[in-house]
């Protein structure tokens, strides 16, 4: 089991692509230029023909989406703070942080590891994708994800549309009961197109590209923001040494991750799998011994 957790930063299953392997790609989401327009949310839904998510007024700033789930693969978070944008702007200020969240396409991806059917797989682009023709909706990946990204679709949740007259034939045709999440537009990548959200993003807050290039760009960006005195700037999940081996989709944040609803220091659960299997083996053995013990100590009847 240790093989998948060697801190090589190379996702398991990726090398196996051999000649079919492409450069690992991902997203660098730079929240310092995000204008919170939600074009990414809509672009994603338009491309992937995701059912509408229902209408809830959340009274949480301009966020009425709430979270990433089976019907939302890009989610823009809005955080209003009484904090200056620049560290040197004095104590008072107002800032409105916006961040487009997405599946992290982890180097060590718990959802992928735990998937019992091979529906989730590591693609030739190094991304993590659910194969909708394979998934049987066991739901194991849902609690395995340390970011709460992947989610099982329950079409009932989309029935509160108010009106639901004839949807265009190809909308709503998708079946429920399976899990869904960002595919990093696997089909588009195969056709040589960039993912829909990155393509739409008006300010290029969402940048798509080979991961090593993105990381370099992010490092420069962080330096620039530091020079400009931005408050709280940090790269999140950029480092291959972190608990998930670095993300394929990483972020430049302007405050701590938990403020955006992100775990501050996630570790892929399967990092402990060896330990857990060993533990289980011992417990199983103990069980057998215990049962036999019932006969040994106290007689056969």
């Amino acid at each position: 089991m240790t093989s998948i957790m060697e801190p090589s930063g190379v996702p398991a299953g990726y090398e196996a692509w051999g000649d079919d392997q492409h450069a690992r790609v991902g997203f660098f989401t730079d929240t310092s230029v995000c204008i919170g327009c939600k074009a990414c949310e809509v672009a994603c839904k338009e491309w992937n023909l995701i059912p509408a998510d229902g209408q809830d007024f959340l009274a949480q700033s301009y966020d009425n989406t709430g979270e990433l789930n089976s019907e939302t693969w890009r989610h823009v978070a809005f955080i209003e703070q009484e904090k200056p944008l620049r560290a040197d702007d004095g104590a008072v200020g107002l800032r409105w942080l916006m961040e487009s969240d997405v599946c992290k396409h982890c180097t060590h991806a718990a959802c992928l590891d735990v998937c019992p059917t091979g529906s989730l797989f590591r693609t030739e682009f190094g991304t993590v994708v659910v194969q909708e023709d394979i998934c049987n909706g066991c739901g194991y990946c849902v609690p395995a994800c340390p970011f709460g990204v992947i989610d099982k679709r329950d079409m009932k949740s989309t029935a509160n549309m108010g009106h639901q007259p004839d949807l265009p034939s190809f909308l709503g045709k998708k079946e429920d009961g399976r899990v869904w999440k960002c595919t990093l537009c696997y089909d588009r990548l195969k056709g040589g197109h960039e993912p829909a959200c990155a393509k739409a993003c008006p300010t290029k807050s969402i940048q798509f590209g080979p991961l090593d290039e993105l990381r370099e760009r992010a490092d420069q960006r962080l330096e620039k923001l530091q020079d400009e005195g931005w408050n709280g700037a940090q790269l999140y999940l950029r480092d291959p040494d972190d608990g998930i081996g670095g993300a394929g989709a990483f972020f430049l944040l302007l405050d701590d991750p938990e403020v955006y609803g992100l775990p501050p220091d996630p570790v892929v659960t399967t990092a402990f799998l060896g330990q857990m299997w060993t533990n289980m083996a011992a417990a199983a053995a103990a069980l057998a011994v215990g049962v036999v013990g019932g006969f040994v100590f106290g007689g056969r009847k």
């Binding site: 394979i134 007259p165 197109h193 739409a200 008006p202």
Partner: protein
């Protein structure tokens, strides 16, 4: 439009047992150097042959976003007479391929579940919509204009100045329309002596 959904599965069952075994991911795991079954070994046939639907479009039309006045370029992908997708046109120096949520939703705008496709008619004092053919509606509207105009024509103002108009008909709208359409509206209305022609410029 079609989606390559599990059409492949059928073919697979048609194969022999050997083929089946050959394609069994467990076998592929061992054979193809993916022992953990995390990568290529578990890829389905559908995933293997996936193509983006914009590559399957019969034609791609360059268009312009219908919402605000920035005028972003759009590419409209069409297959079987239906729009399959709309996204930004990278060639545009205005927008460089980017779109906002509204522009990005233009396919859904054109294919809205609320879209109306038939003329609806409400007769005076009526309590519900009725059906009416497009031809009849056009005929009736033309006649209404002629009649209202005839009954409310002003050759001169009350104090005897030239008027040449009817003040009983108005036409509203234009900022969401094409230049050519606005041109015809103003031209026709001017010809008819209808001066109350207005659009969203004031709102």
């Amino acid at each position: 439009m079609t989606f390559p959904e599990s059409t492949v599965a059928k073919d697979r069952y048609a194969m022999g047992l050997a083929d089946l075994l050959e394609h069994w991911p467990v076998v592929r795991q061992l054979r193809d150097g993916d022992p953990l079954g995390l990568g290529p070994a578990v890829q389905s046939q559908r995933s293997k042959t996936l193509t983006p639907r914009i590559d399957e479009a019969e034609h791609v039309v360059q268009s312009i976003c219908p919402y605000c006045a920035v005028g972003c370029g759009q590419l409209v992908y069409v297959k079987d007479g239906e729009i399959t997708h709309i996204e930004g046109d990278p060639a545009s120096p205005v927008s460089r391929g980017r779109l906002c949520p509204k522009g990005q939703a233009s396919r859904s705008y054109a294919q809205s579940p609320l879209r109306e496709y038939k003329v609806k008619y409400r007769r005076p004092y009526g309590t519900q919509w009725e059906e009416l053919s497009l031809d009849d509606a056009m005929e009736m509207i033309a006649q209404r204009i002629i009649d209202t105009r005839a009954a409310n024509w002003q050759d001169k103002t009350d104090d005897g100045k030239p008027a040449n108009r009817t003040m009983a008909i108005g036409n509203l709208g234009g900022a969401t329309l094409d230049n050519e359409e606005n041109y015809l509206i103003k031209k026709l209305m001017t010809g008819l002596g209808i001066v109350q022609v207005e659009n969203q410029a004031r709102i």
